[in-house]
Each structure stands twice: as structure tokens, then as C-alpha cells.
Symmetry: C2
Subunit: 256 residues, 2 copies
Amino acid sequence: SARVIAFSNQKGGVGKTTTTANLGYALVERGKRVLVVDCDAQANLSLGLGVADVVPARSIVGILSTPTRKLSEVIISTQTPGLDIVPSHLELAEVDQMLTAKFGGHNTLRNAFTPELLSHYDYVLLDSPPNFGQLTFNVLCAASEVVVPVATHFYALQGLAALLNRVEEVKREANPKLRILGLLATRYDSRMLLCKEVAATLPRHGPVFETIIHEASTAAVAPSWGQTVLQADSKSQSAEQHRRLAAEIEYGIGIF
Amino acid sequence: SARVIAFSNQKGGVGKTTTTANLGYALVERGKRVLVVDCDAQANLSLGLGVADVVPARSIVGILSTPTRKLSEVIISTQTPGLDIVPSHLELAEVDQMLTAKFGGHNTLRNAFTPELLSHYDYVLLDSPPNFGQLTFNVLCAASEVVVPVATHFYALQGLAALLNRVEEVKREANPKLRILGLLATRYDSRMLLCKEVAATLPRHGPVFETIIHEASTAAVAPSWGQTVLQADSKSQSAEQHRRLAAEIEYGIGIF
Ligand SMILES: Nc1ncnc2c1ncn2[C@@H]1O[C@H](COP(=O)(O)OP(=O)(O)OP(=O)(O)O)[C@@H](O)[C@H]1O
Ligand SMILES: Nc1ncnc2c1ncn2[C@@H]1O[C@H](COP(=O)(O)OP(=O)(O)OP(=O)(O)O)[C@@H](O)[C@H]1O
Ligand SMILES: [Mg+2]
Ligand SMILES: [Mg+2]
């Protein structure tokens, strides 16, 4: 049955979406069947994979607001065979308050992952929004593992302890199997001492992937073509870094 | 009386905090009295200006959770004379749901800005979190003008229409004087065609500052020293860009 992995960090712009899309593709390259789920009202993951103009009912909005709707009704194929997506829609912003008011609202997404659905995939990757709202709560209740992208910039460390506490809280109160798979250093610029310093402090907070995702214009440009960096520039360092990450995810941190 | 300006964009990591801090300092350099207010639970603005370890009651948390508390009780001076701050605290994340439940909760911050307080300053700058929650709602109800930092990257345009609609909604339903002061292109890298393309589309969405804030390692490093880029490297291009922005804010877009 599929491994369900969340990509969470309430700090904005750290590479949650970029990592979910590129890693999703890298796992497909390795022959895995992958479903990515866009749980952010900004719908960046959907657009970055070339999916736009979905109606709310046929997106994650339909799943969270009408629990009888099956995930299989909203799953669509991306341009990449083997990579499916549950798209998002701007209206997801309205769903947050509804979920707060609903008893057990935090398990709505988890309940949509039936055993039958999970048997169709090897990996389900969940992209979270930059906050601690009900959508992130739903993501952390549905996942078994969490990857925390941490931009190697100054502000990125500040909220890290709060995030890790929040994961512990969800584990204790709602989802006992949840664990931190690893912290992933992103937006790394080897010319900047600050990046080295931030990356060096990460092991204090938890397990850290040996793979570091560097800042690269290819990674920023690829989504504007509806592509991952692996498609836009397959031989680029950025593509290789995401392939290395996929290997670490599959076999365990530090297999190199 | 002070101009109250919000820095808002639900997209994460676009430079809301960086712009609030650097512009705050640039306005002080021009002889203005400035109060910056950190309305984000991440408390990046507070840390970036060298303010840490405040207790919740002496932060924005105290203001929003105990409406009888006066802003003057929580305002502290930064290391820069003329630049004061209302700091934030991680516990601000708990306040969001309390404000939702409270009748008129969206005006809590606005009510804290008494005429007496506003007469003490020339500018009050409000740093928003990356979402459409109650804190951003409070910020948009307290402000008269909104600056929208827009990273010149692909995903940054996607949520822009939704944000501008949200501002119109707040204007119509709660704060008739609210207006968009301008869109500010940030994280601009002149070597990347994508940045030029994104910047070129901004005028379709509203008024755009002629000043463009470029990606610069000095801007990223300065907060790790508790400084703005104007203090860390006063002659840098990044410092000059923020000075130009201050001039445009004071005299109007495109005064050059
Ligand atoms: N490795 C990288 N190299 C260059 N640019 C990158 C890289 N990773 C992310 N970016 C760019 O930085 C911006 C933020 O990345 P992304 O949207 O993936 O972060 P996020 O954490 O999902 O943001 P949000 O908090 O808004 O959901 C995007 O414009 C993206 O193109
Ligand atoms: N002009 C710039 N040049 C270089 N780095 C920058 C620039 N502006 C912002 N950054 C870096 O990018 C990151 C995001 O910036 P910042 O925290 O100001 O964005 P934000 O919109 O406030 O983020 P959030 O959505 O999490 O509140 C920070 O690490 C900051 O140092
Ligand atoms: Mg994202
Ligand atoms: Mg910020």
C-alpha cells in the first residue's frame, strides 16, 4: 500500500510545491506510481504540472466539502504517465472554516484515502499551504511521514521548532503513526555563508536528508512551462538533486 | 495622522517581511517616525529587527486577545531611533480561531489604533502572514493602503487576482477607505527572462511601483545580524532600491 508523505512548513516560499512536483516526477522515473495532492488554495502544484481550469467540485474542494465524493472521481492524469494529481482550486480558502466547525473535520482527507485507492499507488505526496490551518491539519492527519523543506535562509529556522511541535501534537492527539521523515535543505546557494550556516544547524532539529536542493533558475522556470525540472532540463544539477532525493526517500536517508 | 499601510500577499516568501523592515528604516532615514507591526505568528519581522524573547502578553497577541490592552503598552523601540515595533509571538497562531468566533473580531487591530497613537507616527506598516485568515483580515481592516509584494517568479501571479478581489471585498464590506497603493516587483533577477516577463504583466493587475527590488544576498543576510539592508550595506543597490521605494511611497508612484 502507498506511502503517504506530507510536505509541510508554515514558512512561505521554502520549496514545498517545487519539491512535491519534482520528487513526484523523479519517483515516476524510478517506475513508481505516484499521486500528488494539492492541498493549497493557491493551486500552485496544479498549475506547475500543467493542470488549470478545474471546477471546484472536481478538485480537493469537492473531496473536503462533500465527504461522500470519492477521490477517484477527482483524480486526473498529468501530462506524465504514472503521475496523477488531485488538483486544487482557489475556493479551497472557503473550506478551512467549514472544517473547523465540523466534528472530526481534521480526518476528512484521511477518510478519502480508502485502502483500494492506496493500493493503486506506491506514493501519495501531499503539498501543504504555508500556515497551521485546518488544511495543514488534514494533511498531517492523512500522512504517515512528513518531509520538511527548509530554505537555507535566516527566517527559515525561526518557525521550525513550532512546526516540529505541531507534528508531535498531531501525532499524540490524532495520528499516532505520523513521523518526521527528514528535513530537506532547499534554496541553497553555495556562494553564501548564511546558507552553509543554516544547513549546518539542521541536524539539531531532526533527521536531515543528505541531498541538498540548490537554488537554480531552471527550477524556477520549469513550472512556467507546466514541467518539472527533470523534464525541462534532465541533465541539470537540479534534476540530479531531485533524483538523489527520490533514492533517499525510497531507501532511507544517507544511502550514498 | 499616520498613514497605515499593509504589506500583504497570501503567496509565501515574496518579501512581505523584508520590504516592511527595509522600507521602515528607509522612511526613518527620511526623518519620518515609523511604527512597524508584526502580524505574523512566525515573528520574522520582530527577529529581523533584533527583537526576540518577548512574552505573548507584551506582543500583538496581547493586543488581539485582550482588547483593553493599549498598543502603547506593547510598543518597543528597535535599535534604530525613530523605528518602533509591536512584536509578534508564536502564540499568535492560537488567536486566529478566537477572532473568528468574536463578533466584530476583524476590527480588533483597527480599534487599537487610537487617534492619539496615530498622531505619534508618520507611518504605521503592517506585515501580514501568508494566508487569508483572520490576521490578514484584521490587517486589511486596520490599513488604509495596501502594498502587494509580488515575487517575479512563476507561481506569484496565480493568486494575485484572488488577493485583489479579497481587498475589494474588505473595502466593500468593512473598510471603505482601503485602496491598493501599488504592486511591488520583488526578488527580481535581471539575468532571468521569467522575471522580466512576470514584471511586465503586473500593470494589468493594478498600479505598479517603478522601483523594482532585486534579489541580493545582502538582503537575505542582513536580518541574521538583526539589521536592515540599509544598515548592513548602506551603499548597496538593494539599500538604494528601498530608498527609492520610500520616495515613491511618500510622493507617489513614478516620481522619478
Ligand atoms: N531550488 C529552487 N531554485 C530556484 N527557485 C526555486 C527553487 N525552489 C523554489 N523556487 C522558487 O521559489 C518560489 C517558492 O517556491 P515554492 O512555491 O515551491 O515554495 P512553497 O513553499 O510551496 O511556497 P508557499 O509557501 O507559497 O506554498 C517559486 O517561485 C519557485 O519557483
Ligand atoms: N530582495 C531579496 N533578495 C534576497 N533574498 C530575499 C529578498 N527578499 C526576500 N529574500 C529572502 O527570501 C526569504 C523570504 O522573504 P520574506 O521572509 O521577506 O518573505 P515573506 O513574504 O515575508 O514570507 P512569508 O510568506 O513566510 O511571510 C527570506 O529568507 C529572505 O531573506
Ligand atoms: Mg506551495
Ligand atoms: Mg513574512
